[in-house]
């Protein structure tokens, strides 16, 4: 699965780099390095909805308002179940 994290100016200010770091750690904890490909993306056009992520499985979708506090929850709810 490809997960993209927005690093556009707005998300950048809201801490996308912290989320990238946190996400990397969580993926490693689950031993899922080979199943999730973490990418950066320039603006996804959702600046008003907090830091935005996209995931391409089970279908292409956006996850909004991701923060260092909820990143683990988002991963376990939205990404982990769909890993192959």
């Amino acid at each position: 699965m490809i997960v993209k994290i927005c690093v556009g100016s707005s998300c950048h200010l809201k801490g996308s780099y912290d989320i990238i770091e946190a996400m990397k750690k969580i993926i490693a904890e689950h031993g899922a390095e080979n199943k999730v490909e973490l990418r950066a993306s320039f603006c996804l056009g959702n600046c008003k909805n907090g830091v935005t992520l996209t995931a391409d499985k089970p279908d292409e979708r956006m996850l909004h308002n991701v923060s260092p506090d909820n990143v683990r929850e988002v991963f376990e709810r939205e990404i982990l179940p769909y890993l192959e």
Partner: protein, 477 residues
């Protein structure tokens, strides 16, 4: 209100604006006939001998706005009919010569080229070497040095004068720095515009649905649009149809990181950010070529980063530089940059589309670090690499910032002779760096302050996050 340094810039702007307007609105029956008439309406000529000549020259400017002579690989071209055939008399004794008794001029001349005829100084052109000693010696400032501004501005001596007294650029010698473009008082040397290419790319994107168009902006932009905030200019660029605006400074952060690593390997290196400086070494110091950094320029680095995250993206660089228009077509840049606009062209583009930048809201730019942003001024790379080295505990780096081709020349000669004390050579062809680029709207001392202020406003105080972004995008490959 638009403020240009010179009237030549304004003429160029008027032509560009009309041509761009026409590309969107089809407002002229025949651009080549109607636009010159609009700009030079007559019946009196404004600055040439007659309106017909003015209009003929404007037609040549329109040609350049459409991309100029495709057979000429250079990005700067001479407009023959605009060249006013400035005198090339060399040392010239004016009427101010009072026929004094001291004859300081004659005493100062190292070649015995000055005679006194009818009490007045006379210079023997055969003997004169144009050293200028007599000019300084005369207490009445009666002797002047008549040189062509284009020839004086060209530090690599690529401009000569042909049998018709017209300026000619030798492409084998020219490094496309664009100094002559800004210096020619008659606007007879001009850069070719890629604006039509840019408009085609923007139109073809179908409002960023077919593919997305990104603008990479040079950090010198903060010193340019004095009537608006940089955040408003970014909003304006969006309104032109660009999907995203990315700072070239982000690429500069990555370039810094790579150049430091490369320097650790090589031990001696010259920078690769300024394409005219790179070209200068290639053409004039081929034996030093091996020292040129293999890291791509910040412009290309930023574009490559964009294309790794969005492979169908098109990237347009917006900057102060003529030679970037050549660099983007070079093989080593791997088509990362699809086209280039100058600040002058950006201004014309905004106005042609009736976008009032000063009335727009703000769009923030916050990706790049302080160091990336101060790349625009001479010494910026040096400051950045020093601090990056200190942060990584790298020792032994002795950088020097070479400001303008004259300083580059002195230091490269030292390097060639094995007498250089430094081992990291930052070179910029323009005096003062990019913020004095030939295609800047304004060239002033205050520009340095603007760039520093912009650098200091960076949220990122180190290059770390830019590098992280770079490494992440690499992993995608």
């Amino acid at each position: 209100m638009r403020i240009f340094d010179t009237h030549v810039q304004e003429l160029k702007y008027q032509v560009l604006k009309a041509v761009i307007k026409n590309a969107y609105e089809n407002c002229y029956d025949d651009v080549y006939l109607d636009v010159p008439k609009e700009i030079s309406p007559g019946p009196k000529a404004q600055h040439r001998c007659c309106i017909y000549k003015e209009r003929a020259i404007l037609q040549e400017r329109i040609k350049l706005a459409f991309g100029g002579n495709k057979d000429n690989k250079n990005i700067v071209e001479v407009i023959d009919i605009a060249c006013d055939e400035c005198p090339i008399g060399g040392m010239f004794v004016t009427d101010s010569c009072r026929g004094c008794l001291q004859h300081r001029c004659r005493e100062a001349c190292p070649r015995d080229a000055i005679k006194i005829i009818d009490k007045k100084a006379f210079i023997d052109k055969e003997k004169c070497i144009e050293c200028g000693k007599c000019v300084n010696a005369c207490p009445y400032s009666a002797i002047i040095h008549q040189r062509r501004p284009c020839v004086t501005s060209c530090k690599v001596k690529a401009i000569s004068v042909d049998e018709n007294k017209k300026a000619v650029i030798n492409n084998d010698k020219c490094i496309a720095c664009g100094a002559c473009v800004y210096q020619c008082p008659f606007g007879a040397i001009q850069d070719k515009s890629l604006i039509m290419e840019v408009i085609d790319i923007l139109k073809g994107s179908k409002d960023n649905t077919a593919y997305k168009v990104y603008a990479v902006i040079a950090p010198a932009i903060v010193s340019q649009f004095k009537y608006a905030r940089i955040e408003q200019v970014v909003s304006g660029i969006h309104k032109l149809g660009f999907y995203q605006v990315v700072e070239a400074a982000l690429g500069a952060d990555i370039t810094l990181y790579k150049e430091l690593a490369e320097w650790q390997e090589k031990g001696l290196m010259t920078t690769s950010c300024c394409p005219s400086f790179v070209s200068y070494i290639e053409k004039y110091y081929p034996e030093l070529q091996k020292y040129i950094s293999h890291s791509v320029s910040p412009m290309v680095e930023a574009a490559m980063l964009i294309k790794r995250t969005d492979p169908t993206a098109k990237v347009i660089f917006i900057g102060p530089c003529a030679s970037k228009k050549l660099e983007c077509k070079l093989e080593k840049t791997e088509n990362a940059i699809d086209s280039v606009l100058s600040f002058e062209e950006l201004q014309a583009f905004l106005d042609a589309r009736d976008i009032d930048v000063a009335g727009l809201g703000d769009t923030h730019l916050d990706n790049a670090s302080f160091y990336g942003r101060i790349f625009a001024k001479s010494g910026g790379v040096t400051t950045g690499i020093k601090d990056a080295a200190a942060a990584k505990g790298v020792e032994g780096l002795v950088p020097i910032a070479m400001n303008g081709i004259d300083e580059c020349k002195i230091n490269l000669l030292k390097l060639k002779a094995g007498k250089a004390l430094e081992n990291f050579f930052e070179g910029m062809a323009c005096d003062g760096g990019c913020l004095n680029g030939p295609l800047c709207l304004s060239h002033g001392p205050k520009n340095v302050q603007d760039v520093d202020k912009y650098g200091n406003s960076a949220k990122e105080k180190t290059i770390d996050n830019s590098v992280k972004l770079y490494e992440m995008s690499r992993n995608n490959l």
